[in-house]
């Protein structure tokens, strides 16, 4: 599985570079090659995943969810790229897919199945599933926000903007939708996680809980400020990225077993 994961990460890394090169091609024209390669890299998991399943019953730990998250991020992006002029997102989406896959590589190979325990482990399973759907949506929002900051910065500095970069309002709308969806899933995931922790009754406050709460508060602020005061733009984009970093710290801590 480690070899398969390494190949997947390499594919995403190459895609990231390819997108970046494509983004700044001198004549401003896009080539379809990075998209095709990303499709190939994302499609790779459909082949690689079953090979890895021999040691991991489907979705019984966080590694399969990390892979699923990296894969679905690519699929969502490819779908959105057909609807909107957001090819430029490819670089940051592919980079996030690479990060999520790297976490999957770091997960201990001795990770135990969640299905071995009583019914309560199903709650934990749903908690993880919802959290990863949330993280996937936040990843997409952060990728969009990265491009937003780039476009906005170039506009402020009066620089020529490559034709491949989408309009600010499109990016703002997409980021808001992604944060809204992610926040809904993440909220339920955190509630289930809290209930599970209370039920286990250890009373211990783990580092991962703190970062999960921070990311939830950040996204809550982003949405609340948008609804009440119309808050948007660079500050919202920065917070969206910081929120994802916090959420990825949680994933990273679980991946390396430092909770």
């Amino acid at each position: 599985m480690q070899v398969l994961l390494t190949i997947g990460i390499a594919a995403y890394a190459i895609t990231t570079l390819w997108y970046l090169l494509d983004l700044f091609r001198p004549n401003g024209q896009e080539s379809p090659l990075p998209v095709r390669f990303y499709m190939l890299a994302s499609g790779y998991w459909l082949i690689a995943f079953p090979y890895g399943a021999y040691s991991y019953a489907l979705c019984t730990g966080i590694r399969p969810w990390l892979i699923a998250s990296a894969w679905s991020l690519g699929v969502i992006y490819l779908y959105l790229a057909r609807r909107y002029e957001i090819r430029a997102l490819g670089s940051s989406v592919a980079a996030l897919s690479a990060i999520l896959s790297t976490f999957a590589l770091l997960v201990s190979t001795t990770e135990t199945s969640l299905f071995t325990g009583p019914l309560a482990d199903w709650v934990l399973w749903i908690h993880i599933a919802l959290a990863f759907i949330g993280v996937t949506a936040f990843s997409l929002a952060a990728a969009v926000s990265t491009i937003y900051l780039s476009v906005s910065g170039r506009l402020k500095r009066k620089k020529v903007i490559p034709k491949t970069l989408p309009p600010l309002e499109t990016l703002d709308r997409l980021a808001l939708r992604a944060v809204s969806i992610g926040f809904a899933f993440y909220t339920v995931a955190l509630l289930l996680g809290t209930a599970q922790a209370v039920r286990q009754g250890t009373g211990e406050v783990k580092l991962a809980y703190v970062f999960a709460a921070i990311s939830w508060v950040i996204y809550g602020v982003v949405l609340q400020a948008r609804m009440t005061a119309g808050w948007r733009g660079r500050k919202a984009a920065f917070l969206t990225i910081i929120g994802l970093i916090s959420a990825l710290v949680v994933v990273g801590l679980y991946a390396v077993g430092l909770t």
Binding site: N27, V151, P167, L168, E169
Partner: protein, 424 residues
């Protein structure tokens, strides 16, 4: 068939002269017909604000240019002597390359502008429908159009807008995407502002407001642009409402400053706003650009981007130039190949006839004298060789009798690779 281009353009003639040669679309075919009467067998005419050119083809071009000079002098109602310094003439390969360059917008005043291809297509379409073009010109023009299309898709020559108004519209689209849902305000009634506002209207802006210190002038301009007049006293309310603001008043102070904009941004819930400040002195405080979701561009900023785009277009033009020359030269090679085609066909036919006649004779002899098969085959080969070489040898002997080594001798030595053999 020889090709010819004859005319004048922005490169050779000033606008005062060019404007005399405007030919209406409906009259293009009749002008091309005049060119045919002047000696061209196939022709079409293109007339734009930057050029008037006759394109044509004929077996012989002697005297055609002089006749076309008269046609042009008639169109422009001027003396030929006045025209001569501004006219140009391209023949053969140069004519084809010029046609390809014009279609690809490499000969345009603004290199890469897309209008010229459309204008050429209309002119050619009119003349072709009228039956004044012909097969040679049709092939050349259609190949030039295909090359122009390749230039637009394979290079970035048309990617960069180069006028200030177009840059402003492109920036607005970069911020808002689709402008059809957006509203704009024109502050002031200056000419430049009106031009920029008209570009916005043409881009499909949803709603336009025109504000001026004199409400009467605002009403007049709003009526011309299809907008709504407003008093300048309503500026703050207007800024809360619209997405794009074009300022071009004669005020010598900032009409919009950060303290005003802070209130405005709060009331508009921080929706992005784009200021196009084309007034000098500036009407919008440039510090506004530091505020979140506020984008301020003055004339220098727009000019700076337009200059960068022009430079980018020039570098793409070099790539386009190479592509155009390559395609034009390929077309010329194909044309040369096609010129030899009838001779090649006739030569093949001639040798086939010789072969058939000699073969038939040999077959008849073989039936009668089968025992002499070897001799008959040898005679067949000799006769074929002799008959095939007969014409060439007679010509060579005739030229040799004139006492000089002719072009035919050189050609035959090259074709049969005889140079390393004895020259005696």
């Amino acid at each position: 068939m020889q090709f010819l281009v004859f005319g004048l353009s922005h490169k050779t003639a000033p606008i005062q002269l060019r404007e005399r040669f405007s030919i209406l679309e409906d009259a293009l075919a009749s002008m091309a017909d005049k060119a045919r009467r002047a000696g061209l067998q196939e022709s079409f005419v293109v007339s734009t604000c930057n050029r008037v050119e006759f394109y044509g083809a004929a077996q012989r071009l002697d005297g055609v240019a002089d006749a076309l000079r008269t046609v042009l002098a008639d169109i422009g109602q001027t003396q030929i002597g006045n025209l001569d310094p501004h006219l140009y003439e391209h023949r053969g390969e140069d004519a084809i390359r010029h046609l390809f360059r014009v279609a690809a917008s490499l000969d345009s005043m603004v290199v890469g502008e897309p209008q010229i291809l459309g204008q050429l297509k209309v002119a050619y379409g009119r003349c072709r429908t009228a039956g004044v073009t012909g097969p040679a010109l049709n092939r050349a023009v259609e190949r030039a159009f295909a090359t122009a299309k390749r230039v637009r898709t394979e290079t970035g020559i048309g990617e960069h807008v180069v006028s200030i108004s177009s840059v402003a519209i492109q920036l607005a689209k970069q911020i808002f995407g689709d402008l059809r849902q957006k509203s704009a305000a024109l502050i002031g009634a200056g000419k430049m502002g009106e031009l920029a506002a008209r570009h916005l209207v043409d881009s499909g802006i949803h709603e336009l407001f025109v504000a001026n210190r004199s409400i009467e002038r605002a009403q007049g301009l709003a009526a011309r642009l299809g907008g709504h007049p407003r008093s300048l006293d309503e500026l703050s309310r207007l800024l809360s409402q619209v997405d794009i603001v074009v300022t071009s008043t004669g005020a010598n102070h900032h009409l919009v400053d950060p303290s005003m904009m802070k209130r405005v941004m709060k009331s508009r819930k921080y929706r992005p706003i784009f200021f196009i400040d084309i007034a000098v002195p500036r009407n919008v405080d440039p510090d506004l650009n530091h505020m979140d979701n506020v984008y301020v561009y003055d004339v220098d900023d727009l000019n700076g981007i337009a200059s960068e785009n022009r430079a980018a277009r020039q570098s793409e033009a070099a790539v386009a130039e190479a592509l155009v020359i390559e395609q034009a030269d390929r077309f010329l090679r194909e044309l040369a190949g096609q010129a030899a085609k009838p001779t090649i066909l006739a030569l093949r036919e001639h040798t086939q006839e010789l072969k058939a006649a000699e073969l038939e004779r040999a077959r008849r002899r073989l039936t009668l004298e089968p025992e002499k098969a070897d001799e008959i085959m040898s005679q067949l080969a000799d006769k074929l060789v002799n008959k095939m070489l007969h014409g060439a040898l007679v010509e060579l002997k005739r030229e040799a009798s004139e006492g000089k080594r002719s072009a035919s001798v050189e050609t035959i030595r090259r074709i049969y690779d005889l140079d390393d053999r004895s020259d005696s």
